[in-house]
Symmetry: C2
Subunit: 205 residues, 2 copies
Amino acid sequence: MPKSIPDIVIGRLPIYLRALQHMGMEGRQVTSSQELGERLGISAAQIRKDLSQFGEFGKQGTGYNIDFLSKQLQEILKVDRVWDVAIVGAGDIGKGLANYNGFSSRGFRIVMIFDSNPNLVGTQLGGFTIKDSRLIKQELESSNVRVAMIAVPAAQAQAVAEQLVEAGVKAILNYAPVNLTVGPDVHVQHIDPTIHLQRMTYYLD
Amino acid sequence: MPKSIPDIVIGRLPIYLRALQHMGMEGRQVTSSQELGERLGISAAQIRKDLSQFGEFGKQGTGYNIDFLSKQLQEILKVDRVWDVAIVGAGDIGKGLANYNGFSSRGFRIVMIFDSNPNLVGTQLGGFTIKDSRLIKQELESSNVRVAMIAVPAAQAQAVAEQLVEAGVKAILNYAPVNLTVGPDVHVQHIDPTIHLQRMTYYLD
DNA sequence: TAGATTGTTAATCGATTAACAATC
DNA sequence: TAGATTGTTAATCGATTAACAATC
């Protein structure tokens, strides 16, 4: 068995990728681990070490070709393709996600939106007709969705997660302020603004 | 100099706190490091170690009083008070944050919203009149705001951050998909849904 | 008391950094 | 060539875990 890559390294790759694509859009051709590190507040040694887990992408004396390294990272992270994504919850957060146009260029495409509010079901959002949350399993079965975002109230999040997992979803981005419990083959990331804020107030006086 | 607490420990405290408050609302009185750990997917030893950095909050044989430990964690994280928060950007994300009612019970209170769009300036949002982003410094000077959330397009985020820092902001929650560069006395947390999604697709096949 | 669980220590495990030969 | 920067190794540093005496 090849030794597996630490998750903490995987977590930094999307950050490298975002910075590289930003540089690319500025018209830059090459960068170095040092420059990238300064921009991100990460040591140059760490960036080189992280990348070396996957191959040799740079040239001594020159650095990294930005387009080439971007493409390599996209492959590694499997965002050299487009993932279909379902959103559950059409409140303010769900609406924001549905209207966000930053997904498509970075590997994701919203394909379906659910809500449990009968007043919202059937209405339009971001080019989609909102579907009834009770139909999650049924609707996802005929789709290719394995990534979902949960933007429902905390009280409903766990139940929604379970329906999504039953329907074959393997990666969940959870905006509800509650910890989700899922099986070991399902990946979950949590976004809770309060958690992030509380992590900073500790350092304030 | 007392040895400083690792930031990774600080990062887990808000998660413990959220789970404890959840249990409290369920009417529970006590819990154990084991139960808490199972709920969060964290080892019991780690939870005890983390807490022991700050004092002794439990009782052998019994565990932790939920209300007591919650209060202690609130004090440690300095959310036993209410922090005034400014939002910059009144698009979908800013709107969602402005209308979110989960802040007040957890230590934060929105007090001001800015946007640079002349069509939005002067209109109402979440009980506030949206102010012109050019007035950030001026408006914050007479306020008590040291925490802010950035919800503007990527291209404007760095400039907004600099204005906030100039106005005395020490903690920034950044929703723009770009890395912010700030001084060492300013804390930044980033929320970018795509980054979180890309971190999970690595593991999908 | 017997059972449970803490707080803490020491051991293990893992991540980061410093340094440098290789080489563009 | 001289200067720059990679990829990698070994050393350092830090975080997690296992184990258990203390004790409720």
